[in-house]
């Protein structure tokens, strides 16, 4: 039974009026290590389901039942309980199958049913969870969500399920696109040369922004003109501007949150999108529509419980899945092959970015990022990897070391009284507006992240800050990859981006905010 992996303890409710089949299915499902409940009547099944709303993960039902039409049962279950339902029948007539699909069945199995078919039913549970999370998050990234769904399905279809075959093609395409972007942003049609946002460059940027003032809309073109950097393109500025805005807006809200990466609620300009404040548990404060035209803060990656710990997963773009423990305690852990997915991005800097994001992911039911990885890895390998936590832990450590060794970063000493020693390496020599801005931002950062672990992580990313910015093609990437929201970047205090700031005074923070650095 090598090939068929099935999570232990999946709670299955089997409904069939045929006692022979009921007994057989029970036996088969038990062999899959599932937790089986059998039922000979549809009404009885509904009763059981309603009694224990969270008592089952999936329902398998025969189409022909004496007391109630199987499709009706399907409807009830779908509507009331939102559980995945698999239909069964000895009749494989297309119209029947279609009817099943129309009524919302996850799958339609023909009798006699084979073990291998039962072994993969857990995929439907997972898929449904993913969809739920996605819906809840209200994510509406153009293309992003779709991509994810397609990928989910491709992933789920990987290997055994032929019905998803078609979607797998879509996925392949998307995957290529995504990886392509990540690996080589400059080669993508809409990407330009990588830009290293050095401190000086950023200063110019901020100066330009301030020059334009908060009254006028500071568009990338204008900023670019003011900056007068010949090799810089409008796109570069646009993307940088985006992050900057996000960052700033987040900061303001961020002050309210204990946890730094706990995600600012969206407060871009006048709008405080209620929808974005998803409160705890959701990786993406939703509502983040396309940033391209109107950069609203990409829901600061993670509004999650402030108390969530900051343990990051190192893998760059491919955030790891925070598996929802409720799905199956421990059962699904071994489900995660994604740990294996090689990081398409070579540079490490994105890690911090993703880390904080990931951190949220870990504690959240969101599995959006999972898709990114899962699709890739699953398509390529079988799931056989150890638990998620262990690999991620290991990974981050590795990356940390790498960061520290990085010789490329231009560091200026930053005089921070941060708990992290690394931060103390840097001292600030900046004496302009930017500095105060950044200082206040830094302060913000400091305050919200007393945890050493985080400091270290951020630190590392700081070291890589420039490279990070340089290497990540945010423009397209952010819209495609759910998991690596560029807004995460903006969560980083600018000093991490640009290299070197002193800790700001608390007073300056409010000053800064008032200074209208918000650019609408």
């Amino acid at each position: 039974m090598e090939k068929g992996f099935s999570p232990v303890g999946l709670r299955v409710l089997v409904v069939d009026d045929d006692p022979t089949w009921l007994k057989i299915l029970e036996k088969m499902l038990k062999k899959c290590s599932y937790e089986v409940t059998t039922c000979g009547l549809a009404r009885e099944a509904l009763r059981l389901l309603r009694e224990r709303k969270d008592g089952y993960d999936i329902v398998i039902s025969d189409v022909n039942m004496p007391d109630m039409d199987g499709f009706k049962l399907l409807e009830h279950v779908g509507l009331e309980l939102d559980l995945p339902v698999i239909m069964m029948s000895v009749d494989g007539e297309t119209s029947r199958v279609m009817k099943g699909v129309q009524h919302g069945a996850c799958d339609y199995l023909l009798k006699p049913i084979r073990m291998k078919e039962l072994k993969i039913i857990w995929q439907h549970v997972l898929r449904k969870k993913l969809q739920e999370v996605r819906d809840i998050e209200g994510c509406c990234y153009e293309g992003g969500a779709d991509w994810m769904t397609r990928n989910d399905e491709a992933f789920l279809g990987g290997g055994e399920d032929v019905s998803f075959g078609k979607k797998r093609k879509d996925f392949d395409f998307e995957k290529k696109l995504l990886l392509h972007d990540e690996n080589d942003p400059s080669s993508s049609s809409s990407k330009k040369a990588r830009v290293v946002w050095s401190f000086e460059l950023h200063q110019k940027f901020v100066n330009a922004v301030n020059q334009i003032g908060c009254d006028h809309k500071a568009g990338p073109k204008k900023i670019l003109d003011l900056m007068n950097v010949p090799w810089l393109t409008r796109e570069n500025v646009a993307s940088h501007l985006q992050k900057y805005r996000l960052y700033l807006s987040r900061l303001e809200k961020g002050k309210e949150l204990k946890c730094y990466s706990g995600g600012a609620k969206n407060m871009d300009s006048p709008q405080k999108d209620a929808e974005m404040n998803l409160g705890s548990s959701y990786a993406f404060s939703g509502g983040n529509s396309v940033i391209e035209t109107d950069p609203k803060p990409l829901a600061s990656a993670s509004v999650s419980d402030p108390s969530s710990d900051v343990h990051m997963l190192p893998k760059a773009k491919k955030t790891r899945i925070g598996f929802d423990p409720s799905i199956s305690s421990g059962a699904f852990e071994s489900l995660l092959p994604w740990n294996d997915v090689p990081d398409p991005l070579e540079s490490k800097p994105p890690i911090l970015y993703d880390e904080s994001f990931l951190q949220q992911q870990q504690t959240l039911p969101s599995q959006s990022s999972y898709v990114a990885n899962s699709a890739t890895s699953l398509m390529e390998k079988e799931m056989k990897k150890p638990s998620y936590e262990s690999s991620s832990a290991g990974g981050s450590r590795v990356n940390a070391d790498e960061f520290l060794k990085s010789p490329n970063v231009i560091l200026q000493d930053l005089d921070l009284s941060a708990s992290s020693e690394k931060l103390q390496e840097f001292s600030s020599n900046v004496t302009n507006n930017t500095e105060s801005t950044l200082r206040s931002l830094n302060w913000e950062f400091q305050e919200s992240h007393p945890s050493g672990a985080l400091d270290n992580d951020l630190d590392l990313s700081w070291l890589q800050g420039e490279r990070f910015l340089a290497n990540t093609g945010f423009q397209n990437f952010q819209f495609q990859d759910y998991s690596s929201s560029p807004s995460l970047l903006s969560e980083l205090p600018p000093h991490l981006w640009f290299g070197n700031e002193r800790l700001p005074d608390p007073d300056e923070y409010s000053l800064m905010v008032d200074q209208g650095l918000f650019i609408s």
Binding site: T20, K27, P112, R114
Partner: protein, 156 residues
Amino acid sequence: MNTVVAQLQRQFQDYIVSLYQQGFLDNQFTELRNLQDEGTPDFVSEVVSLFFDDCAKLINNMSRSLEQPENVDFKQVDSGVHQLKGSSSSVGARRVKNVCISFKECCDVHNREGCLRCLQQVDYEYKMLKTKLEDLFKLEQRILQAGGTIPQVDIK
């Protein structure tokens, strides 16, 4: 002692193969045997027993529906056939299942005579299979009692 076991085992093997060859059983029966394990040594015989009980019940119902020539509830008969077909597919009762296919066709065209014939045939087939399997299980018991193990038979 050994030879007795060996003999019984060969007998068992030949018998079960013949059942497949004569179309009494199909692959599903093999699947059932594979499902049986140490924890549930009587799994197959229990399932089969359930099947035969179900057969008897369904045939009885359909018989009643077909009884009155003027008032045949073909819907009910059709339902019964469908269930019987599903049931037979669960244990690999190939012949029974095949009769169900013809049975359904008669039902679709409201052919009472045809249905009655099919009913008779299905009754015969399930009883025949029942007898055959009883013999098979008896053989199994004898092997076990003689200290041997039930051979894994690969039907191709």
